[in-house]
């Protein structure tokens, strides 16, 4: 797989605070890569280093094959950026903002007009394109900023908490369009403190806290990392005692809730097999069987507490 972002030992120090602490990771072409962490974890600082806004104290980052510090203009040419705290120019219209971006990226006028129309339309701003941004709602402004980030038809898009504090409608539109990008071969680097967002959108997630990366993996794998938290809920067609059940292997703990047993385990797969064997040997019917994986939130809390 081709890497569009390669980060080595990236570090940023503010006075005595190590905001980002020797992080390493790669982002593969075509994936939605999530950067998940609580407030102050170092997400924005990392994003700013990757997009050439601030210089790292140590380490380096390659963006689309270019060292972001040595060849910033080349690296920036084909990326799109939606910074965390950013605004369109409120004294300009949506259209003027789009054309300004096109000029800054050196996009030919004809192509710029075509793209601007397409994206403003797609993000529901077409009718308001000639209004000054001053009168826009927060959600409209954020949608416009996303449009502005797309004017150069970027291969790689950085978004720093793009849906934070937005109305449901705008968040949905933005998430929907993000999900379309991988199909066009675009890669997304998305920071968020919202587990649901990371879980639903991302192919892989890096969990960052206190400037360090605690884990990087697929959301599903991350959930499995905390096996202790895994449990299985089961109920049978006739009454059995808790003690009889506790004889079967792979059980850590059993609690009874009404006609259901909640069994925690370190090995969900083997536990289910042994529960099935148990049921068969006793001629019991399994009425209900649920695995209860931890939410990404639980994984997150656990991992961020450990680092």
């Amino acid at each position: 797989m081709e890497n569009v972002v390669e980060v080595q030992n990236l570090t940023k120090i503010y006075d005595s605070l190590v905001a980002v602490d020797h992080i390493n990771f790669n982002v593969e072409k075509g994936e939605i890569f999530g950067f998940l962490g609580p407030n102050g974890a170092g997400k924005t600082t990392t994003t700013r280093m990757l997009t050439g806004i601030i210089r790292p104290n140590e380490g380096n980052a390659k963006i689309l094959g270019y060292d972001i510090q040595k060849e910033p203009l080349k690296a920036k040419q084909n990326i799109g950026v939606v910074p965390e705290t950013s605004n369109a120019y409120v004294d300009l219209s949506a259209w003027q903002n789009m054309m300004l971006m096109a000029e800054l990226y050196g996009i030919p006028k004809k192509e710029a007009v075509k793209r601007a129309e397409k994206f403003l339309e797609r993000l529901g701003l077409y009718e308001r394109q000639n209004s000054k941004v001053k009168g826009f709602s927060k959600g409209m402004k954020q949608r416009l900023i996303l449009c502005m980030a797309l004017i150069n038809d970027p291969i790689l898009i950085f978004l720093d908490e793009p849906t934070s504090g937005l109305d449901v409608q705008s968040s949905r539109v933005i998430r929907d369009i993000l999900l379309e990008f991988p199909k066009e071969g675009k890669t997304i680097f998305l920071t968020t403190h919202n587990m649901d967002e990371a879980n639903h959108l991302c192919d892989r997630v890096a969990i960052i806290n206190h400037g360090k990366i605690a884990a990087i993996d697929r959301p599903a794998t991350l959930k499995n990392m905390i096996k202790r938290l895994n449990s299985v809920e089961i109920s049978f067609d006739s009454i059995i005692k808790t003690e009889t059940l506790s004889e079967i292997p792979y059980i850590r703990n059993i609690t009874k809730e009404g006609d259901k047993f909640i069994i925690s385990t370190e090995d969900v797969d083997n536990l289910i097999h042994s529960l099935a064997d148990f049921a068969e040997s006793r001629k019991l019917k399994i009425i209900n069987l649920n695995t209860m994986a931890p939410s990404l939130e639980e994984v997150f809390i656990k991992l961020t507490r450990e680092t």
Binding site: I53, P72, D91, E103, L104, Y105
Partner: protein, 250 residues
């Protein structure tokens, strides 16, 4: 290399266009760029009756260009930072020099545009421009010089435009008073001349008097050389310092 230079130059025009649309109409630009030179000049006009029209008009042109060209450029960086448009702007593939050049151009156009007003008034009340080409080149060069000075004044990384306005007022008023706008250079004391020689406005005012009145204190070549030196110094310094401080505004 050459194509990249041209490319960046073209992108700086985008910056200029944006500046023109947004910053020409901001309060501080109108008050410090237009009203201030007007009031200063009226006060000066009432106080001095025995100076020639040529002297007055050339002084007015110098003062107007200086105030207007330094009115737009200093407020752009703090304004962008405060309204949080700066980060988006510097995410774009443009260098700090490109950005500063675009801002300089916007400031220059404002300065030249407004300075035409006293020049036209002068022509109406009967002044005679003896060397129009030299005057026009002088106005453009001095405009670049003063605009770059304005950009240099905005390098302290504060995000309140009012702070920068204060800093620039602290610089601009003394500069106007030492530059031989109100007193002919020849009538100044030795130390007065030394101090005057440190101000780029001195050379522009001198050059204007040559073009309008026919006499100057320094030679025209010297005036141009001095202005070019100040211009290069201000522009290079503004770029270097902004490169360092622009990140601190975020």
């Amino acid at each position: 290399m050459y194509t990249q230079f041209l490319d960046q130059l073209k992108r700086s025009l985008g910056v200029t266009k944006k500046d023109i649309r947004i910053y020409y109409f901001k309060g501080p630009v109108i008050s410090f760029g237009l009203l201030m030179p007007l009031f200063l000049f009226l006060a000066f006009l009432i106080g001095s009756r025995n100076l020639s029209t040529d002297f007055l008009i050339s002084g007015l042109i110098g003062m107007t260009l200086f105030f207007t060209a330094t009115a737009v450029s200093p407020i752009i960086a703090p304004w962008e930072a405060q309204l949080q448009t700066l980060e988006r702007l510097i995410s774009a593939p443009i260098s700090v020099a490109t950005l500063i050049f675009g801002d300089m151009l916007a400031s220059l156009i404002f300065g030249i545009g407004i300075s035409l007003v006293p020049l036209i008034i002068g022509l109406f009340i009967g002044i005679n421009v003896i060397y129009p080409i030299i005057l026009i080149s002088g106005i453009i060069l001095a405009g670049v010089c003063f605009s770059s000075l304005g950009l240099l004044l905005s390098t302290p990384p504060t995000n309140a435009p009012s702070n920068i306005m204060m800093i620039s007022s602290l610089v601009r008023f003394p500069v106007v008073f030492i530059s031989g706008i109100f007193i002919p250079l020849g009538n100044m004391s030795f130390w007065g001349k030394i101090v005057a020689s440190l101000s780029p406005l001195t050379y522009f005012a001198d050059l204007t008097r040559y073009c309008i009145g026919g006499t100057s204190y320094y030679s025209i070549l010297f005036d141009f050389m001095a202005l070019i030196t100040f211009t290069v110094l201000f522009f290079v310094l503004a770029v270097k310092l902004h490169q360092r401080t622009i990140y601190k505004r975020l």
